[in-house]
């Protein structure tokens, strides 16, 4: 199990470098908040331990906090990234015809 997981770890590092290197400077803030959301996956660790191993009261409290932290990270991260990316989306010339679409009353904006 260890060796397989280590292999996954190393390969994932290379994949990460390959994929992330292609992200343009313009999108670095969303990239950062998006990857931020992804490392919120630690919430899984909290859930797994709370669901299968935790017994004491202190452990349970700490894990609830850990899950809350992880959830903030995941939910907040993805939402904020989405908000940012929406701002980048519709401003390019390629999508500008959408703006010239007649509005319901027939007028062109």
């Amino acid at each position: 199990m260890l060796v397989a997981n280590l292999a996954i770890l190393v390969l994932a590092g290379f994949v990460g470098v390959a994929v992330i290197s292609k992200v343009p400077n313009t999108l670095h803030t969303p990239l950062m908040s998006g990857t931020n959301a992804i490392h919120g996956i630690v919430v899984l660790g909290g859930i797994l331990l709370l669901g299968t191993a935790a017994t004491g009261v202190l452990e349970k409290i700490l894990l609830v906090v850990a899950i809350a932290f992880g959830t903030i990270n995941v939910v907040g991260g993805f939402l904020v990234t989405d908000r940012m990316l929406e701002m980048f989306k519709g401003r390019s010339p390629a999508t500008s015809p959408a703006q010239a679409r007649p509005s319901p009353n027939g007028a062109v904006r």
Binding site: L9, I38, R91
Partner: protein
């Protein structure tokens, strides 16, 4: 069931990678983010399907608490406050890893009977997660203005103290690794890690924040990967490593854009000692002041204007005013471009987000390498709240503390108008010779008010 769960993990991390591939272009990015979020949902479902799952109400409580805090924060945060939001989200992720490692320690009575790799990975996660949590909190405090942005430190003792704190954290971890079962050791590892995180970030000044945030991001990612290794969750390993890679790449890019090594930035204190260097250049040379009306005329008669935004634009929330001015100029036949320095602002890509918020087409946003050749063909460069990234001393003055840092060649354009609150030096505490150049004029005042004043003068022309 276990196999099914494992397959779901594979599906989840495939979606993370596929989603991130979408981030390579603004058009596919929204979808990419949604795909990654879907992957996350699948990962959560997978872990809930793990055999012998229990404690459902408590799990639900944790998720509900996190959602209650995270959603409103993400919905309402201003784009100018994005760096501190990212720092905070990053911090809680690291905090979660540290807490998880601590609980693992307690439930296994000091990792008794666990394989060595579980122990190593958990301890790594504990220390790094703790560093990341507390470091991010300090970064948040600095960016939010709760902690002064200037470097705060112990001077020459800083490095000694930091080294001791790190040694303390590692020492506690090693003691556990060698069979120590005392809970005090685990608390010590976390506490030393926390103190180290605080002491490392405190002496780092505001303008170095892009590097710090990227670095903390990478650290949290690595700690997540370590936790995934310890808990045998492949999705966590992959996700953590990708974030680690992303954070490392960004950290490197930012450090390169400042021509400083990452260790030098982490050692901090930059700007605190810059006073001596500033004196040499300052002297009592006069700057030329201009007013909104004159600036408007200059802008109107230019063929090409390059806007150079900096942190000052973010502070003044001037991005909409800048957009209005640029639109008006374009209607008058002036070509407007934006020159974005990689470290302008407080996080990678900060200026791009603000200008995108204000509907500036991203085709007009030019990277440093792309735009630098154009300044010599430009009639007017409009510097809005940027300072050190325009400082020609970085190019010409080997004695300058920022010598060698790649800059925007604003001084090559035919005329320069600098919008600035006062003649105070920038973050680095270094005087900017650009302001004393014969072709430079200063327009003092709040960036937003100044831009609006110029816009209304331009309308009146």
């Amino acid at each position: 069931m276990t196999t099914f769960v494992s397959v779901l993990y594979v599906l989840a991390f495939s979606l993370f990678i596929y989603g991130l591939m979408g981030l390579t272009g603004p058009r596919t990015a929204v979808r990419g983010n949604l795909i990654a979020a879907t992957g996350m949902a699948i990962a959560v479902v997978a872990v809930l399907l793990t055999p012998r799952m229990g404690n459902w109400p408590l799990i639900a409580l944790g998720v509900a608490l996190g959602t209650l805090v995270g959603v409103p924060a993400a919905r309402t945060v201003k784009m100018t406050a994005m760096p501190q939001m990212v720092a905070l989200f990053n911090g809680v992720g690291g905090g979660a890893v540290a807490l998880i490692a601590f609980v693992e320690f307690r439930t296994t009575q000091g990792f008794a009977g666990e394989p060595a790799y579980v122990l190593v990975a958990s301890l790594f996660g504990a220390v790094v997660g703790s560093v990341s949590f507390w470091g991010s909190l300090v970064a948040f405090g600095k960016l939010q203005g709760l902690v002064p942005g200037r470097p705060i430190g112990l001077g020459q003792f800083q490095q000694v103290v930091n080294a001791l704190l790190l040694a303390g954290a590692v020492g506690c971890a090693v003691a556990i690794g060698l069979g120590g079962h005392s809970e005090l050791l685990m608390v010590g590892a976390l506490a030393f890690g926390a103190a180290f995180g605080v002491m490392v970030v405190l002496p780092i000044g505001g303008a170095d924040m892009p590097v710090v945030i990227s670095l903390l991001n990478a650290l949290t990612g690595l700690s997540a990967a370590a936790a995934g290794l310890a808990l045998n969750i492949t999705a966590m390993i992959v996700a953590g490593m990708i974030v680690g890679a992303s954070g490392s790449i960004l950290t490197n890019l930012m450090a390169k854009a400042m021509n400083r090594s990452i260790p030098a930035i982490v050692r901090g204190g930059f700007g605190g000692g810059g006073g001596a260097a500033a004196v040499g250049v300052a002297g009592d040379r006069a700057v030329r002041e201009t007013n909104a009306a004159d600036a408007a005329i200059q802008l109107a008669y230019a063929n090409q204007v390059i806007v150079v935004p900096g942190y000052g634009m973010a502070v003044a929330q001037a991005q909409y005013a800048v957009r209005d001015l640029a639109k008006l100029l374009e209607e008058k036949g002036v070509e407007v471009k934006y020159a974005i320095h990689p470290v302008a602002g407080r996080m990678p890509g900060h200026m791009n987000v603000l200008l995108a918020e204000a509907d500036v087409p991203y085709e007009q946003l030019k990277d440093m390498d792309e735009i630098n050749g154009e300044f010599s063909r430009t009639d007017l460069a409009l510097v809005i709240g940027a300072n050190d990234v325009t400082n020609p001393a970085a190019r010409n003055d080997p004695g300058s503390p920022i010598h060698g840092m790649p800059i925007l060649n604003v001084d090559e354009s035919k005329a320069v108008i600098v919008l600035k609150r006062s003649m105070n030096t920038g973050f680095a505490g270094i005087d900017n010779p650009l302001y004393y150049e014969p072709e430079t004029e200063m327009l003092f005042g709040d960036a937003k008010a100044s831009v609006e004043a110029v816009t209304s003068e331009l309308k009146a022309l």
